[in-house]
């Protein structure tokens, strides 16, 4: 494997996203939404203004869980199929570059763009709110930012897999939306349905493990379990066993969600 080839592809992808202001636009979206949530998140309870970092993070988690998977899927769905459709995939693969190098280059370039916009967008909020935040709050907020990046990278990996599997861009975009729908909207409802339908017989620890099958749920557990207040707020403590509260384990689960779709993409990648 030649790292220079991976880097050349990655640098082009990253520069494309910088140049067409994609990174800037997404960062701005994150900043604006976070600020709105930080100041008006408590409006339902009759209070406006920054309350606590825990409540802010809890509200941000709900936002991010919808937004980041969508952004990541839209960013990555045409990574390979786009090249295929414009006829440049054959050209790239006729050069001294392997499919794995091309795939990794594409992924890393897009991942850098997504990570930068996420960190810049939420980082800006941290700077603006730094006066109201203690060191402990900062630490939690940093954890939230990191897990948001991981969530994005996991869905980006899924997007790249779709872009390898799909025959054309139209199908790839359809698959991307369907994937978003499934993981973000349908999956939890299905689990809930099984739980209720079975009268609780499938509950317990093994049931909670099913949450690992959805990177969005892994993200939720990562953030919710690090915060005492939020844990009780969400009422998840009764469902999820304490062992799954370990940020390291959940971080590891996220890494698996990044690696496995990429490995599948490489396996299915044919010119």
């Amino acid at each position: 494997m030649e790292l220079t080839q991976i880097f050349t592809i990655a640098a082009k992808e990253f520069r494309d996203r910088m140049r067409n202001r994609w990174v800037l636009a997404v960062a701005l979206v994150f900043t604006v939404f976070s600020l709105v949530i930080a100041y008006f998140g408590g409006a339902q309870q009759g209070a406006v203004g920054f309350r606590s970092i825990e409540f802010t993070i809890a509200s941000l988690v709900s936002l991010v869980i919808y937004l980041i998977p969508l952004i990541a899927l839209l960013l990555g769905f045409d990574a390979i199929v786009g090249e295929r459709e414009r006829g440049s995939l054959d050209l790239l693969l006729s050069l001294p570059i392997t499919r794995l190098e091309l795939l990794l280059g594409k992924y890393l370039g897009l991942a850098a763009a997504l990570a930068l916009s996420t960190l810049a967008g939420f980082g800006m909020v941290a700077v603006l709110l730094s006066r109201q935040m203690s060191w402990a709050s900062m630490y939690h907020y940093f954890g939230f930012m990191l897990s948001s990046v991981l969530l994005g990278l996991a869905f980006l990996s899924l997007a790249v897999l779709l872009s390898v599997l799909a025959r054309d861009r139209t199908r790839a975009s359809g698959l991307a939306i369907a994937t978003w729908f499934f993981f973000v909207l349908v999956f939890d409802l299905l689990l809930l349905g099984v739980l209720v339908g079975s009268g609780g017989r499938f509950g317990g620890e093994s049931f909670a493990l099913l949450l690992l099958l959805n990177p969005a749920d892994v993200f939720r557990i990562l953030n919710v379990f690090s915060l005492e207040d939020v844990r009780t707020l969400y009422g998840l403590a009764t469902v999820v066993p304490p062992a799954m509260g370990s940020p390291l384990k959940m971080g590891g689960a996220m890494l698996v969600w990044i690696a496995v779709p990429l490995a599948l993409a490489h396996w299915r990648f044919k010119p």
Binding site: D16, R19, R86, L91, L93, S94, L95, P96, I97
Partner: protein
């Protein structure tokens, strides 16, 4: 892998491209079926055939994009798919059909990107840009390029890394007549440097004058290989003479020609037309000699590559 006989082995070593028993099967479909081909270094070689004849698949196999089901392919001295093929790829140039390059990059940025991937010096970018006549548009984004300019940029990209073998799929698509002429002049220049060029085109009239040899593909097989002239002779297609004469001389000419060839010419308002086997060429000229200056004009039409193509491909 097909076994290679000692005799063909030396041919394969000298050849820039050597195919031995190459097949590609997709289930029951035989896209390419038992192709043997040697293309010597420095040759401009045409590959023609109907859509679906197997040209593209053959191209892709020679570039190592699609593995062959059977057979062996050597390109630029390296076995396709073998260990040293990656290094050999640095010296292959490829222009895919209807390729769309990156709109948001400038012409020069596009070339720099490909030069990096090909491990070619960045200084080559400006040189190839000049070679295809785009030196003034290097800084402009590709989205502002006309179709012909995009095609030229695609060609420039293929020239990076001082290629030993060039694979050009419909390279003159979208080029105006002057650009087509310049393009073939560039190919001749490359040929003089020992570059081998493999080219496909649907415009047979364009290839006819410009390739050294060509292969006609149909149904996954190479139906014929040779120079245009050799293929003409192989098909035994008739020559067509058009002889301009005054009406009073036509009867005599008619008699002379029929005597010499055994074929009755067709009478036209301007004279005669005669279709006869190639072997009668000199006999026709000799038969017309007694008429001297009474023959106002004489045209001899060889079968075009198109005629030859349909003779083999159908």
């Amino acid at each position: 892998m097909a076994s290679i006989s000692p005799a063909s082995d030396t041919a394969a070593q000298d050849a820039a491209v050597a195919l031995r028993g190459v097949s590609k099967h997709y289930g029951a479909l035989h896209a390419v079926d038992g192709v043997d081909l040697d293309i010597p270094r420095g040759e401009i070689f045409g590959l023609i055939g109907h859509n679906g004849a197997g040209k593209s698949t053959l191209f892709k196999m020679m570039l190592g994009l699609v593995p062959a089901t059977q057979g062996s392919i050597v390109v630029g001295g390296a076995q396709v798919g073998g260990r040293d093929f990656r290094a050999a790829r640095r010296h292959l140039g490829y222009l895919p059909e209807n390729v769309v390059l990156y709109d948001n990059l400038s012409g020069l940025e596009t070339l720099r990107f490909f030069a990096r991937l090909k491990h070619a010096p960045q200084t080559q970018c400006q040189a190839v840009l000049e070679r295809v006549g785009l030196q003034h548009a290097g800084q402009r984004p590709v989205r502002e390029y006309s179709k012909g300019m995009r095609q030229r940029l695609g060609f420039a990209q293929a020239l990076l890394g001082q290629p030993r073998v060039l694979f050009l799929d419909e390279p003159t698509n979208g080029l105006d007549p002057q650009a087509i002429r310049d393009f073939y002049a560039t190919l001749r220049g490359l040929q003089a440097d020992g570059v081998t060029v493999i080219i496909t085109s649907h415009i047979l009239a364009e290839l006819q004058e410009r390739v050294d040899r060509l292969a006609i593909m149909a149904a996954g097989k190479v139906q014929a290989v040779g120079s245009v002239q050799a293929l003409r002779e192989q098909t035994q297609m008739p020559l067509c003479f058009t002889i301009d004469l005054a009406p009073q001389d036509a009867t005599e000419a008619c008699r002379l020609l029929e005597q010499a060839t055994g074929i009755a010419p067709e009478v036209l308002p301007t004279g005669l037309r005669l279709r006869c086997p190639r072997s009668h060429k000199m006999a026709v000229l000799a038969a017309l000699a007694p008429l001297g200056a009474r023959v106002q004009d004489l045209k001899m039409l060889e079968p075009s590559l198109e005629d030859v193509f349909f003779g083999f491909a159908d």
